[in-house]
């Protein structure tokens, strides 16, 4: 198991590295000059050049790359090109908002999605199943931002229960909750749709397996059949798909953050994009990717734990 863990971890590192390089290169090729953004259109050419020099933008790309790499290895994400603040601070401030949102999304999705998936699988081809499938398909088809907008329109604008935008801070938990509700609901509903479908198909696959029929033939109660045999064996494909869903979750959280103007990583990324803040953009991309790589790693490890055969591939 340890060898397996190390193997998977080692693969994760080059992935991160490649992503960093791609991000770095892509962002540098992009048009727009952060020094000009900082000084505005009334500034003199000399002032712009001076700032470029200060930002290190006039050095050749590969030197900038090496600097970035060196700093990253020391855990320093550098300073924002737009306001000179250390990015790590901003990252740490934004992270909790994204985390609480994605957490709500996952939990909501799991709590409502798994039972629904199981239920519709068991009641296959009945009306309940039909409705469940249409609903979850509907959920999948709903663009995340549109669902957010509709919920915002209904429960924050037309009927002003919840605040429209913003996030509240962690010192006032009630306020935080109010700001989290609609975004969390949006993401949660989308994730529920995904989880339902996935659970349903996993369960269906297993329902036809011999050992289930055997268990039933043995006369075990329905409940026992479900919980003991079904779920335990469905766990494997579910685990495998968590990796994919983490990606959907992150993408979804970015859209939700933009719609509801929550100060999380997604908003940080789009803001950095608009201001041509190369360093911040890079830092956010790396953070996102680290999450994905981490989740994939955990998924791989869980996979290895559950199914020993995988370890020896």
């Amino acid at each position: 198991m340890i060898a397996y863990t190390i193997r998977r971890a080692l693969i994760a590192i080059p992935t991160l590295f490649i992503v960093l390089t791609i991000t770095f290169v892509l962002i540098r090729i992009a048009p727009g000059d952060p020094a000009e953004v900082r000084l505005g259109d009334y500034a003199s050419k000399e002032a712009v050049e001076a700032l470029r020099k200060e930002m290190g933008l006039n050095k050749p790309i590969w030197i900038q790359y090496l600097h970035t790499l060196k700093d990253l290895l020391q855990g320093d994400f550098g300073r924002s090109m737009v306001n000179g603040r250390p990015i790590s601070k901003d990252l740490i401030r934004s992270l909790p908002y994204t985390l609480e949102l994605t957490l709500v999304g996952i939990i909501f999705g799991a709590v409502f999605g798994i039972p629904t998936g199981v239920y519709t699988a068991l009641k296959r081809n009945t009306l309940a199943d039909y409705i469940g499938r249409i609903l979850s398909l509907g959920g999948l088809s709903f663009p995340t931002f549109y669902l957010g907008i509709l919920l915002m329109l209904a429960f924050a604008i037309k009927i002003p229960i919840f605040p429209v935008v913003g996030a509240g801070d962690f010192s006032n938990l009630t306020k935080n909750f109010y700001h989290l509700f609609l975004p969390g609901l949006t993401l949660g509903l989308i994730m529920t749709a995904y989880v339902t479908r996935m659970t349903r198909s996993s369960v269906l696959n297993i329902l036809n397996e011999d050992y289930v029929r055997t268990a039933r033939a043995k006369g075990l109660t329905e409940r026992k059949v479900i919980y003991i045999h079904l779920l335990r064996n469905a766990l494997l494909p579910i685990t495998a798909l968590i990796g994919i869903y983490a990606i959907v979750l992150i993408g979804g959280s970015v859209m939700v953050e933009i719609v509801f103007s929550r100060p999380g990583l997604g908003k940080m990324m789009i803001g950095a994009l608009k201001q041509r803040d190369y360093t911040t953009l890079q830092a956010v991309m790396i953070t996102f990717t680290s999450f994905v790589v981490l989740i994939n790693l955990i998924t791989d490890l869980m996979y290895g734990l559950i199914d020993p055969r995988v370890r020896y591939k």
Partner: protein, 547 residues
Amino acid sequence: MKGIKMAFITVLVVGVFLFLGAPWALGADREVLRISFDAGDILDLHPHFAHTTQDRGVVHLIFTGLVRYKAGDIGKFEPDLAERWEVSKDGLTWTFHLRRGVMVHPWKDNPGYELTSEDVVYSFKSAADPKRSAWAAEYAGMTFEPVDKYTVRFTLQKPISELLFLPKVADYAGGLIIPKKPAEELGEGFRTHPVGTGPFIFNKYLPKEKIVTVRHEKFYRGVPKLAGVEVFFMSDLSSRKFGLQNKELDVIEGPPSQPWVEEMQALPGVKVNVFGPGESGVLHFNMTKKPFDDIRVRRAIAYALSRDEVATAIGKAIAEAVYSEIPNPQPGWITRDELVQRGKKDKKDYLYAPDRKKVKKLLTEAGFPKGFTTEISLTERGEYQVPMQNVVAQLRESGINVKLNVVDHATYHSNIRKDMNTIVLYNCWRPTADVRLTHFGHSSSIVVTGKKPITNFSHVGAVDADGDGKVDNVDSLIESARDMLDAKEQLAHWKEIQFKLLDWCIAYPVFIKRFTFARQDYVDWGYDLKSTLILSPQINELTRTTK
């Protein structure tokens, strides 16, 4: 069934609780004015660099100048840090006498100190240094020296009128005074921890969230009525609106948009301020790129456009048509009637009122009977998008297709300065008519190829504008107007220059759009807000909340 019933009741109870609890949970504060700008964060709080609305908004809480524009009225100057001033007979020496007892804000461990001429001289030397100021050009050729503790002398190389000199020492841009001790001590840190002499003291900066300032008890014009000002960054329009509705904000910046103004005015307890001077929008034609080198094409575009429609697209409450390069209400501007009168006298058309027949005739003469296509880059920002989208739609009716290549704001400014566009829409306000005419009409300001490129996008002064084979140039007119000391003569000269530019149709002035801010009705600015240079309502020692 039982489970479902329980669930239903729970949901009902929770729903009621949420509904009732909402306003209580979201709370409200008083005594401290909370204002929000359309921005994600500040860029730079150093007054000699700050140029965005939000940066200027913060900077003007913290700094003041020798002279100030009267609060709410940029047409008048008043003494501020300086009690009085004189200018020598030859116009080359200006002497300012400082007020006594002006206390610099406390910072870090320093409790503050009295401002003297040493600080003022330091500030102007810094403002004149291109490495430490974005407006160094304003002070080129000037020297500054302290005469005694409370007297400062400015020495110029050429005399200029008071109209052109006072803006340089007013509470705006380079004229804002940065005290020597904190500036030197904080160095780069000054950009995010400004220390000045204004009514409010910088307290803290929470990146991407807000700036907190507190009352300066020793402010020389009087103790401010507000306990402090908090400046929030919210680049999302809805955020700001609902912040206002929930009474979490007292003042918010608005877009130059009529529907928004109407929406705000309909809210209970909310008032909207639309104020000037605003920024004028002018379409500049690049005469070095075909087919804009042909005066008939340029005039065709002018005749194809209805200024009124563009202004309406922005919003009648906010924008109106302008007919000259110098916009209303800047000294030197030309009214519609004046244009028509003068046009009759000269037998020329300076107005270019919409006329489809003339468009067709001119285009056909120029060789484009069916119209033509051109491609330009444009910034994504709303205040450019809204008028330009309308201009494009209008031109389309005449067969002129303008393809828009939308880029981010910084790239747009970079592109147009690289002479890439055939048509350039530029929104701005310039402190004086001289600055504007120089920037947009003098040959040395021509982008890329000029001696000192600024924003002369049309290349006027270096090309043949009217097709008579000779280069058309207003350089000497601009320069002589600048040196005039008699105000009436100066104004007349400036108008002459504009008539020429209109005749050559190097640019088409379209609109002036004012600024929009919404506030709670309990916010009282303390003065009559008609116009302000800093793009947002000034919050000073007289501003207060009446509850």
